[in-house]
C-alpha cells in the first residue's frame, strides 16, 4: 500500500476492492448492497456456485416438464431394460442411452435421470424450508437474547446449549418412526416432509441464533441505537428498525451456508430409511439402494452421489462468496 493512488493500475492490483470501489465512485454514494453485489459479481467461483444453485432450483421447479421431454415417469418400472438373472441393466454402461440419459436402476429399471430430477424437488424443498424455520427461530431468539441480556440471555443461551447437545440424528430417526398416518391436517408424504422440515429446522436454529446474538450484543451499544433510544423509541421499534436491517447480512450468509447442511441431513435420513415414503425418489434414498450394486451398476451410485455433492458444493461456494462480499473484514 505504498504506491501512490494515481499510479495507473495500482487500484486493481494492490488495493482492497472496497477501497477501490469507493474511490471510483466517490462522486455518488452506493449502498452496501450495491457494493456487495459488485464484489460478488467479480467472484467467479461464487457466481458459478450461484449459477448451479439457480439451475438446480429450476430443475426442481420444472421437473415434470423436463422428465416429459427427456425421461420416463420416475416411478415407472421398465423391466424390459433389466436382465432377469442378474437384476441389472441388460444394456452396457448401466443402460445409459439417449433414451435413458443416466441409465436405469437395477431390479426395477426405473429411469435414474428422472429420479434425480424429481429427487431435486425433495432435497431443495426440505433444504429451503428447514433453513427458513431455523432462520426465523434463530433470528428471533438470538436478537432477543442479545438485546435484552441479563436473565433472558442466560435462559436462551442455555437453551441453545441444550439444543446443540441434542443427538439430532437419533432423535429424528425415532420421531419419524412413530409419526402417525395423519396429523395437523396433513397425511402421507406431505406430513412426512412437514415433519422432516420441522425436525431439521427446529433443531438447527441455535447455530444461527448464536451468531445473531453475538452481532446484536455489539450492535446494541452502537451510537445509532443509543440515539434512537434517547429519542424515546420502544424496544420493539429498535429491534425491528435499527437492529434487524443491520443483521441482514449475517442472516443471509448463514442461511446460505445452512441450506447445504440441511440438504445433507435430509439425504442422511433418507439413506437411513427414515425419509419420505417410497417410491418418491430422494437422492439419499437412491444412494442407499445403490450400495448393493456399486460394482455392477456404478452409474446408479454415481448419479445421486454427484447430485448431492455438486449441489452442496455450489451452495457452499456461493455462501462463502456472499460472506466475503458482505463483510470486507474477511477479505483474504
Amino acid at each position: 500500500m505504498t504506491a501512490p493512488l494515481d499510479v495507473p493500475g495500482a487500484a486493481e492490483t494492490a488495493q482492497p476492492e472496497a477501497v477501490a470501489a469507493l474511490a471510483k465512485s466517490s462522486d455518488r454514494g452506493r449502498s452496501l448492497g450495491q457494493i456487495a453485489w459488485m464484489r460478488l459479481r467479480k467472484d467467479k467461483v461464487a457466481m458459478i456456485g450461484a449459477g448451479f444453485v439457480v439451475f438446480m432450483a429450476l430443475v426442481a421447479i420444472f421437473a415434470p416438464l423436463i422428465v416429459r421431454f427427456l425421461g420416463h415417469p420416475p416411478n415407472e418400472w421398465n423391466q424390459e431394460m433389466i436382465d432377469p438373472i442378474l437384476s441389472t441393466a441388460n444394456q452396457p454402461w448401466g443402460g445409459i442411452s439417449p433414451d435413458y440419459l443416466l441409465g436405469v436402476e437395477p431390479v426395477t429399471g426405473r429411469d435414474i435421470f428422472s429420479r434425480i430430477v424429481y429427487g431435486a424437488r425433495i432435497s431443495m424443498l426440505i433444504g429451503f424450508l428447514a433453513t427458513l424455520v431455523s432462520v426465523v427461530i434463530g433470528t428471533v431468539m438470538g436478537i432477543i437474547a442479545g438485546y435484552f441480556g441479563g436473565w433472558v440471555d442466560a435462559v436462551i443461551s442455555r437453551l441453545m446449549d441444550i439444543f446443540l447437545a441434542f443427538p439430532l440424528l437419533l432423535f429424528a430417526m425415532a420421531l419419524v418412526g412413530v409419526i402417525p398416518d395423519a396429523a395437523f391436517g396433513l397425511q402421507g408424504n406431505g406430513l412426512r416432509i412437514a415433519i422432516l422440515v420441522f425436525i431439521i429446522g427446529f433443531f438447527n436454529w441455535p447455530y444461527i441464533g448464536r451468531i445473531i446474538r453475538g452481532q446484536t450484543l455489539s450492535l446494541r451499544e452502537r451510537e445509532f441505537v443509543e440515539a434512537s433510544r434517547s429519542l424515546g423509541a420502544g424496544n420493539f421499534y429498535i429491534l425491528r428498525k435499527e437492529l434487524l436491517p443491520n443483521l441482514f447480512a449475517p442472516i443471509l450468509v448463514y442461511a446460505t451456508l445452512l441450506i447445504p447442511t440441511n440438504i445433507l441431513f435430509e439425504a442422511a435420513l433418507s439413506f437411513l430409511g427414515v425419509g419420505v415414503e417410497p417410491p418418491t425418489p430422494t437422492w439419499g434414498g437412491m444412494l442407499s439402494e445403490a450400495v448393493d450394486y456399486y460394482n455392477a451398476a456404478p452409474n446408479f451410485m454415481l448419479a445421486p452421489g454427484l447430485a448431492i455433492f455438486l449441489t452442496v458444493l455450489a451452495f457452499n461456494l456461493f455462501g462463502d462468496g456472499l460472506r466475503d462480499a458482505l463483510d470486507p473484514r474477511t477479505q483474504s
Partner: protein
C-alpha cells in the same frame, strides 16, 4: 488327484451344456459333480474322508447356541453336531431328506390308541461327553426348561407347552422337583412318555426339534447354558465359550457312531466366527477361505452378480427353494376389502413378474400361485386368480371393481418392513401395478422388530391405520402343511398383538380342517386336507401369494458331501466334510 480332475471335467461339461441350453438334471444315483444347483437334489463331492477343519461364518449371531433356546432353522441344523434329539431328519438329498429317523430313540414315537400318549425308548449305551449315561430324565428336563420357563428360556418355540397335558407346572427353575412335571413320564431310564391334551398326529416333528436334546439338570445354568452345552453328539465345545467369541467344536471322544443313524463326524474340528460383514463373507467363500455361511440365507447382491456371470463359479452354486412363501395379506376388516370383489381386484391386478424382479428375478424365487409351499407333502399346483403371464389382467380387475361398486378404483395402504429392501421393492411393484387400475395405494414402512408385535400383527393398529394390504413372509417350523398353515390361517391364531394371521382369516371350514388334520393319523389323508385348506384360503381372496423364495448358496471347492436339506432348507451341516490333500 482323481477327484480334482473329475471336478474340472465336470465344470467344463456343465458350461458346455449351458451354452447349448439343454440344462440337464443332476447326475443319477444321488451323487454328482460340480454343476449349478446340483446339491439341491444330489450329494456333491461325496467322500468318506475324515479330518480337516470346517470353517463356518455368520454375518450376525444366532439367538443362542443352547439347543433348547433357539428359533433359527440354521441353528437347528447346526446344533445337530453337538446335540442329538429323540428323532431327527435323514441326511438324504431331495425329498427323502424330509424323512424322520430315530436318533436317540430306538424307533419313531409309538402313539396310543386314543392318540394322547407318545412313547419313545432310548437306545442303549448313549452317553454325554463326560461319559455319564443319557437317561430319559435328561430329556424330560430339557423339554421342561425349554418350554415351561418363559422368564428364562424364551427364544425358541413352545409347542410342547401348548400340547402337553402339564397342568400349571411352573418350570424347573421355580419348581425344582421334576416329578411335578406331569406332561412327561419317565417310567425307567430308557423310556419317555409324552402326555398330550389333544391328539396330535405330527408329534414326531416336535421330537425332532433341538429341544428334545438331553440336558443334565446339574449342568444347567439357565440362559447361560449356551456357554457350556454338554454334548450328546459327535462334537463338543473345546472350552467354555463366550458369546461373540469364535466357537470351536472338537471331537467328542465318548460319542459312539454305531448308535447314530447319520454320519456326522467327518471334520476333525469345526470353527464358527460371528459378525462377519456380508460382502467380506461372500468374498471369502468364493476364495475358499471360508467353507460355509452358517446362516444359510445365501449370498448378497454383489456376490450374486459375480457368481452368475462366471460359469465356473456358477457351477459351485445352488439355487434351492427356501420354503419361504412371500405374500401380501389382504385384511377384510379394512374397507373396502370387506367386499370380496375388491379383494379380488387386488389379486387380479398384481403384476407378479415385477414382484419377482424385486426379489432378484428367477434366481430370487418362483412365482407362487397358492399359499402352500411346493415340496410340502400334499401340495398341488392351483392358480385360481390366473392372469396372462402373471402380469395382471385389466379386464378381470375392472369386472371385480364394478362388482364391488368401486368402478373408478379406491385408495388403500400397503405396509412393509422398511429395513427389508426386497420386500419394499415388492410393495412398490404392487403399488405401481395397482395404480394403472385407479387403485391408489400408499406405502407404509415399519421396522421389522415391531412389525408383527405392534403394527401389521396388531389387528387394532391395522384397522386404525387402514392397512388393507400387508407384505409378509412365512416359513414352516416343520415340513408339513400343518406346520405352515396353522399360524397364518387358523381363526384361533388371531391375536391382539404378535398376530401372524394377518389376513384375519377365521373360516369355520378352514379351522375345522386344520383341527381334524392335527388328529388324523394317516399321512395321505392329512396331506389331502392341506391341499383343501390351501384352495379354501385362496378362495377367500385374503392372500396374495407371489413368490416361493429361492436362495443362492455357494459351496467352496474343498467342501465334500454337500447336499441341501429339505428339512432345514439349507446345506445339511451334519454331512459336510473337508477335502484332504
Amino acid at each position: 488327484m482323481r477327484k480334482t480332475w473329475l471336478g474340472l471335467a465336470a465344470a467344463g461339461t456343465s458350461a458346455a451344456m449351458l451354452l447349448t441350453a439343454c440344462g440337464g438334471g443332476g447326475g443319477g444315483g444321488g451323487e454328482s459333480e460340480n454343476e449349478f444347483d446340483a446339491a439341491t437334489t444330489s450329494i456333491v463331492n461325496p467322500s468318506d474322508e475324515q479330518g480337516g477343519t470346517l470353517d463356518f461364518a455368520h454375518s450376525d449371531e444366532f439367538d443362542s447356541m443352547d439347543p433348547g433356546n433357539t428359533y433359527y432353522a440354521a441353528n437347528w441344523d447346526f446344533t445337530r453336531l453337538y446335540a442329538r434329539t429323540l428323532v431327527t431328519y435323514s441326511q438324504e438329498p431331495g425329498a427323502a431328506g424330509l424323512e424322520l429317523v430315530p436318533d436317540l430313540a430306538e424307533d419313531l414315537g409309538q402313539v396310543s390308541d386314543d392318540g394322547l400318549t407318545w412313547t419313545y425308548t432310548l437306545k442303549e449305551g448313549l452317553t454325554f461327553e463326560d461319559g455319564t449315561p443319557i437317561t430319559s430324565e435328561d430329556i424330560k428336563y430339557a423339554v421342561a426348561r425349554s418350554n415351561f420357563a418363559p422368564d428364562i428360556i424364551n427364544k425358541g418355540p413352545t409347542y410342547f407347552n401348548q400340547i402337553l397335558d402339564a397342568g400349571d407346572y411352573a418350570g424347573p427353575y421355580e419348581d425344582e422337583n421334576l416329578d411335578n412335571f406331569e406332561g412327561i413320564e419317565t417310567p425307567d431310564e430308557r423310556t419317555i412318555v409324552f402326555h398330550l391334551k389333544d391328539p396330535f398326529s405330527e408329534f414326531d416333528y416336535l421330537a425332532a426339534m433341538p429341544q428334545t436334546a438331553p440336558v443334565p439338570a446339574d449342568a444347567d445354568t439357565g440362559d447361560q447354558y449356551q456357554s457350556a452345552v454338554v454334548s450328546s453328539g459327535p462334537y463338543k465345545y473345546e472350552s467354555e465359550w463366550t458369546v461373540g467369541q469364535p466357537l470351536t467344536l472338537v471331537r467328542n471322544t465318548e460319542y459312539d457312531p454305531e448308535t447314530d443313524p447319520l454320519t456326522r463326524n467327518r471334520p476333525e474340528q469345526i470353527n464358527v466366527t460371528w459378525k462377519q460383514e456380508e460382502n467380506d463373507r461372500d468374498n471369502r467363500l468364493i476364495s475358499g477361505d471360508l467353507d460355509v455361511d452358517v446362516a444359510g440365507l445365501g449370498v448378497e447382491a454383489a456376490a450374486r452378480g459375480e457368481i452368475l456371470r462366471d460359469e465356473a463359479l456358477k457351477a459351485q452354486a445352488d439355487n434351492p427353494l427356501t420354503g419361504f412363501k412371500l405374500y401380501f395379506a389382504i385384511n377384510p376388516n379394512v374397507e373396502p376389502f370387506d367386499d370380496k370383489a375388491c379383494r379380488e381386484a387386488i389379486l387380479y391386478g398384481a403384476d407378479k413378474t415385477a414382484m419377482q424382479a424385486a426379489w432378484g428375478g428367477a434366481i430370487g424365487g418362483d412365482i407362487a400361485t397358492s399359499m402352500l409351499p411346493p415340496g410340502t407333502p400334499g401340495y398341488e399346483e392351483i392358480d385360481p386368480y390366473a392372469t396372462p403371464e402373471h402380469k395382471g389382467d385389466g379386464d378381470a380387475v375392472q369386472t371385480a371393481l364394478d362388482e364391488c361398486g368401486m368402478s373408478d378404483g379406491f385408495t388403500t395402504n400397503i405396509s412393509y418392513r422398511s429395513d427389508r429392501d426386497k420386500e419394499k421393492k415388492a410393495a412398490e411393484a404392487l403399488q405401481q401395478a395397482l395404480a394403472q387400475y385407479g387403485i391408489d395405494a400408499q406405502l407404509k414402512g415399519y421396522e421389522t422388530g415391531t412389525y408383527t408385535s405392534e403394527q401389521a400383527g396388531s389387528p387394532s393398529f391395522v384397522e386404525s391405520e387402514e392397512l388393507g394390504i400387508m407384505a409378509y413372509g412365512w416359513g414352516a417350523d416343520w415340513p408339513s402343511g400343518y406346520g405352515f398353515l396353522q399360524q397364518i390361517m387358523h381363526g384361533d391364531s388371531i391375536k391382539d398383538a404378535g398376530n401372524s394371521n394377518l389376513s384375519e382369516l377365521d373360516d369355520p371350514e378352514v379351522n375345522q380342517l386344520l383341527d381334524d388334520a392335527a388328529q388324523t393319523e394317516d399321512p395321505a389323508e392329512r396331506e389331502q386336507m392341506y391341499g383343501e385348506i390351501d384352495a379354501l384360503a385362496m378362495e377367500s381372496a385374503t392372500f396374495l401369494p407371489y413368490l416361493d423364495q429361492k436362495a443362492l448358496l455357494f459351496r467352496p471347492e474343498g467342501l465334500t458331501n454337500v447336499h441341501f436339506s429339505e428339512a432345514y432348507k439349507m446345506y445339511d451341516y451334519s454331512s459336510l466334510g473337508v477335502a484332504q490333500n
